[in-house]
């Protein structure tokens, strides 16, 4: 089976699942919710299979490496991590309402990998700078962090909708489907914590790698700098919560600001000169 074909198909499976979650929110029939959950799980299995096939194919080509080495592969893994975290949240909280907010993120990432110009899905051999075991842990930790922040971003939007003053709050459409603000707040906080720990690990493993590859653990490369900026945004968020008692909408807004910073770190700096040009 062709992995690129499988991964493109996953985009549509996620789209289907997203529509299911939306219908569930609007119509309220359990049928749509259960269906959307199952489609999401099937999509995730296909997604995992696609990554594994791609990994295998790289070995058959004689240039075997973990599929975490270029922009295409990072998009695919990013979406995979988002789905992994979402399915864990759905399973642990028995609430499928974040689905309508998380699925579009995963779907857009997959679609971007498939159709954006300049994103090559070809399996390429590793250039000397990438021939390091730190590559795997660095990319793994960074993107698990980004994925947790993406989930926090989705939860932040839900919180803002749920807690909006006046109409909407008790409406049929949202009142039933979105969990209570306290539940959302707790989930959001946990996602941010997870993201923050993984981002810290990602920056640390990247520094170790840079120390061996480039002779400097920190070079103020734009991507490095933006990862630090993202780290600081979430550090401010966590301090404001712990010490200054920020809760609720402020935290939700911070999760949106933080995710913008994540996106600049991931995509925006490609427009600047960077040592990270492979991603």
């Amino acid at each position: 089976m062709n992995h690129e074909w499988v991964l493109s198909a996953v985009t549509f499976v996620y789209l289907l699942s997203f529509i299911g979650y939306l219908l569930w929110m609007v119509r309220g029939a359990e049928f749509w919710g259960a269906g959307a959950s199952w489609i999401a799980r099937i999509g995730f299995l296909l997604h995992s299979a696609g990554i594994l096939i791609r990994w295998r194919v790289s070995y058959q080509m004689g240039i075997g490496h973990v599929p975490l080495t270029n922009f295409y592969e990072s998009l695919i893994f990013f979406a995979w991590a988002v789905m992994l975290l979402y399915l864990l949240v759905e399973w642990r909280t028995r609430s499928r309402s974040p689905g309508a907010f998380v699925l579009p993120v995963a779907c857009l990432l997959m679609a971007y990998a498939s159709i954006a110009p300049g994103v090559s899905g070809r399996i390429e051999p590793l250039i000397p700078a990438l021939q390091s075991n730190w590559l795997t842990v660095h990319v793994l930790t960074c993107f698990l962090g980004y994925a947790a922040f993406a989930v926090a971003f989705a939860l932040g939007q839900m919180y803002l909708i749920r807690s909006r003053r006046g109409e909407g709050c008790n409406g049929v459409f949202l009142g039933r489907a979105i969990p209570a603000p306290e539940v959302l707040e707790d989930l959001l906080y946990r996602s941010v914590i997870l993201g923050f720990v993984f981002l810290s690990l990602g920056i640390m493993t990247g520094s170790i790698w840079a120390h061996y590859a480039w002779g400097a653990y920190w070079s103020w490369d734009p991507k490095e700098t933006w990862s630090l900026i993202t780290w600081i945004v979430y550090a401010i968020m966590l301090h404001a919560r712990a010490v200054r008692g920020w809760r609720g909408r402020r935290m939700a807004w911070m999760s949106l600001v933080g995710f913008v910073s994540v996106l600049v770190t991931y995509l925006g700096v490609n427009y600047l000169d960077s040592l990270h040009s492979y991603f």
Partner: protein, 460 residues
């Protein structure tokens, strides 16, 4: 906390200051990624209005990360971290030490029913069972008399109170390590031509430095994938002291070499013209003839089969390595073709290429076959050499940071308080508690504890 009148102390120990400093550092960092820095800034400085460029220069915006104000902000953050930690640590220590402490009078009020257990045992007897249950996961439990009955207190995870100090200590160590590296570290490059040696460390903006030893590049190798992307950059180095080789080894990207207090990295390479070229040729399976060649030279093939002219030589033609272009003039006609040094690899990567592209076929003038033994390139390798005495401190700080984050976020200091009130037919047991964070997790744990006391399920 700050007392009235201690203005400077209140200022330095405030978390508001930490947040403002972090935001300012982040903004400064953003500016540094938008405005080109250091060498890259010169092009911009020439393009923009001179007075604006002068303003940027004065504000050190062309070298944000080494500017006085940016380092000043980092220094102030360090002072703020130390002040906050010193200010708050005693309270954290008291929290860590005290297992019983004063009880919030409302602690047992309005408990959910699942945390109240009725039993037919008297309090003293029930307490023994509860202590056995607690012994598995909780520590330091204390039994006291309480106006309403018997009170058992226990706690766990007290160390998590220190997580935040571990994180902050880690950040301080990293800032200190970074500063130490900037002040005492050294960074430079050494260029060595293949087959030669050098001991000159070139430094940016500083005079070059002669090393006590010299480095010889015995061989430089660059290999390519079939796609043309580089596969290996490798310098085989010998380190010489007083003309004696004291250390030898291959230097590859991602595999630095430590020598003489410096760490050497494969940084870059280049090709110099003027190396020797060796061509060999044979008629069919007959014996090969070798010949040193230069561009423009002509020579006759044995047996008056034709005349060969060396038209061109390239160090890295179409990213496939060294090649020479030959012209053969004979009674059968004129032939022109390239002879690649890496022909075997090219054939392997592109099957059928020789029949498709005659210009690349070294056997075009059959039955003669030409091959390039040595392509005339002369490599020089560029090594980066660094010494960073701050790096171990930064590494230690990073490890503390991660350990501290895990302590802060995945553990909490939980205290359980169990009140046993005597009833006519037994006792009434109330399970309450407090936690330094994660109230939902605490709630679950107390519920499971109450269930275990009731005799259902397990304590977690």
């Amino acid at each position: 906390m700050a007392k009235p009148g201690s203005g400077i102390r209140a200022f330095l120990t405030s978390v508001r200051l930490s947040i403002v400093l972090l935001a300012a550092i982040a903004l400064g960092a953003v500016v540094g990624t938008i405005i080109p820095q250091q060498e890259a800034a010169e092009a911009l400085a020439e393009k923009i209005n001179p007075s604006l460029a002068a303003l940027f220069q004065a504000l050190q915006l062309f070298d944000v990360y080494h500017s006085v104000w940016f380092i000043g902000l980092l220094g102030l953050l360090a002072v703020n971290l130390i002040a906050c930690s010193l200010d708050r640590f005693p309270a954290a220590w008291r929290q860590f030490r005290g297992v019983t402490g004063p009880i919030d009078p409302g602690l047992f009020a309005a408990l959910p029913p699942e945390r109240i257990v009725e039993t037919d045992r008297p309090p003293a007897e029930a307490a023994v069972r509860i202590e056995a249950l607690l012994a598995r996961r909780w520590r330091r439990f204390v039994k006291t008399e309480h106006p309403q009955g018997l009170l058992i207190a226990a706690e766990k995870g007290g160390f998590s109170r220190f997580g935040v100090y571990i994180v902050h200590f880690g950040v301080l160590a990293m800032i200190a390590g970074g500063m130490a590296g900037g002040l005492m570290g050294m960074k430079g490059t050494i260029e060595v031509v293949e087959g030669e040696s050098s001991n000159v460390l070139q430094r940016r903006g500083e005079p070059s430095l002669p090393l006590e030893f010299s480095i010889r590049c015995d061989r430089f190798t660059v290999e390519y994938y079939a796609s043309g992307a580089p596969k290996v950059f490798r310098s085989d180095l010998s380190f010489l002291k007083g003309g004696q080789v004291v250390h030898q080894g291959p230097l590859l990207v991602n595999h630095p070499i430590d020598f003489g207090g410096l760490r050497f990295y494969q940084s870059s390479y280049g090709i110099l013209p003027g190396g020797r070229m060796t061509l060999s040729y044979a008629k069919g399976r007959e014996e090969q003839v070798q010949r040193e060649i230069t561009v423009g030279e002509r020579f006759d093939l044995p047996g008056a089969d034709g005349e060969v002219e060396v038209l061109r030589a390239e160090g890295n033609l179409m990213r496939m390595g060294p090649a020479v272009k030959l012209a053969v003039r004979s009674s059968r006609g004129d032939f022109q073709f390239w002879v690649f040094q890496n022909i075997e690899r090219i054939k392997e990567a592109n099957p059928g290429i020789l029949s498709q592209v005659p210009l690349m076929n070294p056997g075009l003038f059959a039955p003669w076959i030409f091959s390039l033994q040595r392509g005339g390139e002369r490599f020089y390798t560029v090594l980066q050499a660094t010494r960073d005495p701050g790096a171990p401190l930064v590494a230690a700080g990073a490890i503390l940071l991660i350990a501290g984050l895990i302590t802060v976020f995945f553990f909490s200091h939980r205290r359980v308080r169990i009140l046993l009130e005597a009833r006519e037919d037994g006792s009434r047991i109330c399970v309450a508690g407090t936690a330094s964070r994660d109230p939902i997790g605490l709630e679950g744990e107390l519920r499971r504890l109450a269930a275990a006391i009731r005799g259902e399920g397990k304590v977690s």
